[in-house]
């Protein structure tokens, strides 16, 4: 946890420096309309940087408030990756084949792989739920979900 604390503070510090640098390009001083565009983000970034520096010093000095546990519990990585990787795959698929087919594949895959449910149940839920949401969102509330390749070719 301590390493993670230090690492995260370094990442935030880096972000803050990046933002401060970018704000400087926008002018942080007093312009025609009062404070200029870069003024607010610049001082925010400086604030974040100061906080991170103190957090870093505390963590390095061992006086940090966080517990002496690893960031992810032993054995915790597997279930996290089992959720995160298929979810990422679903979003990637959404770009290609649209949200509804991607969701059907994702839900079906997850239920079969992790839950080991019967094929009948897997099919019923993985097809039924996206169908219902298609009716609710695309038809009822007129919020079209991404269609990917199908949208371009079939004009759904």
């Amino acid at each position: 946890m301590r390493k993670a604390d230090i690492g995260f503070a370094v990442i935030l510090l880096g972000l803050a420096v990046l933002v401060a640098w970018e704000s400087l390009q926008l002018d942080i001083g007093w312009g025609f309309n009062g404070p200029q565009g870069g003024f607010f983000p610049f001082w925010l970034a400086i604030g974040v940087a100061i906080c991170c520096l103190i957090i870093l010093v505390q963590a390095l000095g061992g006086t940090s408030s966080t517990l002496r546990q690893p960031l992810v519990r032993p054995g915790g990585w597997t279930p996290i990756l089992k959720v995160a990787v298929p979810a990422t795959a679903m979003v990637a698929l959404t770009e290609m084949i649209g949200l509804y087919p991607a969701a059907a594949l994702y839900i079906g895959f997850y239920m079969r792989w992790i839950g080991k449910h019967r094929w009948l149940l897997v099919l019923a839920i993985s097809v039924g739920v996206p169908m219902c949401s298609y009716i609710i969102f695309d038809k009822w509330f007129l919020i079209p979900m991404p269609k990917g390749w199908w949208g371009a070719h079939l004009r759904l």
């Binding site: 993670a4 949200l99 080991k116």
Partner: protein, 504 residues
């Protein structure tokens, strides 16, 4: 009495069949959302926000606020039956609620929790009814320095009262403001912090951030714990409910104390969680049998529930009167107001009385519908958690993805949602609070323009924040809250020395 006439008008709106249906729908969905892991009040409201674009603003806010009440009720179900607090403020409910459920008294605990939630809410709603117009009237005189003072107070309250590491709270708040500045600068129209990319030009939408940080992050935490929901079976029968209701009046003092604590703490941001703990602690202190607390006493359930619900309602008071949300859920609703084209703040009472009073009246109707529905259908709601995990998790992630996409019809937002989810996980693990980040992201534009307008008014001198009495009081209060985490340990030490023993 102007308030009564307005309230009557509000009831005419809230009691229309359409709005009653919307309210019922909101309560049912909200309770389901409150029961499910990874979906709480804040991201439930965020996911449904796009759906409300097709409704009138009044119906939309009724749907969202009822969703919020439902989520509060749903949180009590999981805390008592499964020992899983759905929201941070239902943690205190688990102390006595879950032991009761394990002893087979789940029905009593749930009845007590729902009834006391209802009483706490009712108390706070009455308060809102009479104080909201007064506060709105008073704050009409506020200019940019005063508004900035209130916003400063909001965030320093998180730092001073939040309980976590003050440094990390400050860092999270500033990060939220930074995320809000990405994209178009509202004052000059310049593009900012886009690093030359098209993707960042639209900026970060708070809905996506809320769904990712609260929803996906929470799911990652849940699966890491490897939680299996093995809950106690609730026995809810009418006789049991009536018996428990008969027992409650003897605790009227606890109700009054807890409702007062909740309503008072709820106005301040992040107040519901400390309110529930404080109320639990005080009920224990005043109890004749304090040693029984924690083993499953009715009073230990109703004290935190009354306070949490009272705080949940009164968190909406600053939102409708000042445009400052008191909780992440209120912040998402406030973002909704902006999307519906309403300017939150004191002018709302004059420009859209139908909206404000419809909302206030729907708090009454929504909580009555809510307490009836949850009492009748507890077993059904609890059954949701018995669904296999391998079905729940992909469904929740799918619903989150729909919500994230629908705000702006952009697949990029689903990617952001995943990134925010990962960030939310790390934030939770490393004790960076999420609530102030979300509040800052929603309020960012308003805060920045208040700051810049104030500085323009004063030609750049920061002394403008002390120029009017109201602004000065607000500024001094916020500074006090900012330094209090440093002073507090010193005061406590002095106090312990004089008392000879620790308190609470």
């Amino acid at each position: 009495m102007d308030a009564f006439a307005n309230l009557l008008m509000g009831f005419q709106i809230a009691l229309s069949p359409y709005n009653l249906m919307i309210a019922t729908l909101g309560i049912v969905l909200g309770t389901i959302i409150g029961v499910l892991p990874g979906l709480g009040g804040a991201n439930g409201v965020a996911i449904l926000l796009p759906v409300t674009f097709v409704m009138s603003p009044t119906s939309a806010i009724i749907l969202l606020s009822c969703l919020y009440w439902g989520a509060l009720f749903g949180g009590a179900i999981t805390s008592i039956l499964f020992n899983i607090p759905g929201e941070p403020w239902s943690v205190a409910t688990t102390f006595d609620g879950h032991p009761m459920a394990k002893q087979g008294l789940g029905g009593q605990a749930l009845t007590a929790a729902f009834t006391s939630s209802f009483i706490g809410a009712a108390f706070a709603i009455i308060l809102v009814t009479f104080f909201a117009p007064l506060i709105a009237e008073f704050s009409l005189k506020f200019g940019p320095p005063e508004f900035l003072g209130i916003q400063l107070l909001t965030f320093s309250a998180f730092i001073g009262l939040g309980g976590g590491s003050p440094l990390k709270t400050i860092a999270a708040t500033l990060l939220g403001f930074l995320l809000a500045t990405v994209g178009m600068d509202i004052v000059s129209g310049q593009l900012r912090l886009t690093f030359g990319t098209v993707e960042l030009m639209r900026g970060f939408n708070f809905v996506v951030a809320v769904i990712g940080l609260f929803g996906i992050g929470e799911i990652l935490l849940t699966v890491e714990e490897g939680l299996e929901f093995r809950g106690a079976k609730p026995q809810v029968r009418w006789r049991l409910i009536l018996e428990t209701l008969g027992e409650l009046p003897q605790y009227w003092k606890t109700f009054v104390r807890s409702a007062l604590i909740g309503a008072w703490m709820g106005i301040k941001p992040g107040g519901a969680t400390p309110a529930s703990f404080m109320s639990y602690g005080i009920a224990k202190k005043f109890s004749k049998t304090p040693e029984k607390f924690g083993t499953g006493v009715l009073e230990g359930v109703l004290a935190p529930e009354t306070a949490a619900h009272a705080a949940g309602v009164s968190a909406l008071l600053p939102m409708i009167t000042l445009g400052i949300p008191g909780s992440p859920t209120a912040a998402v609703m406030l973002g909704g107001l902006l999307i519906w084209g309403l300017q939150p703040g004191p002018m709302l009472f004059q420009e859209r009385p139908d909206f404000v009073w419809g909302l206030i009246a729907s708090m009454y109707t929504g909580n009555v519908i809510g307490v009836l529905i949850v009492l009748l259908f507890v077993p059904a709601f609890a059954a949701i958690l018995r669904l296999p995990f391998a079905i729940l998790i992909p469904l929740i992630i799918y619903v989150c993805a729909i919500g994230a996409y629908a705000v702006n019809n952009s697949i990029m937002d689903i990617w952001y949602m995943l990134i925010f989810g990962l960030a939310g996980y790390v934030f939770k693990k490393l004790d960076y609070p999420i609530a102030p980040l979300v509040l800052a992201l929603v309020l960012g534009d308003m805060t920045e323009s208040a700051l810049r307008q104030s500085l323009i008014m004063s030609q750049g001198s920061p002394m403008i924040f002390f120029s009017s009495p109201i602004a000065a009081v607000l500024a001094i209060l916020s500074i006090w809250l900012l330094v209090s985490p440093i002073l507090h340990p010193l005061i406590r030490k002095a106090w312990e020395r004089t008392r000879g023993r620790g308190y609470m």
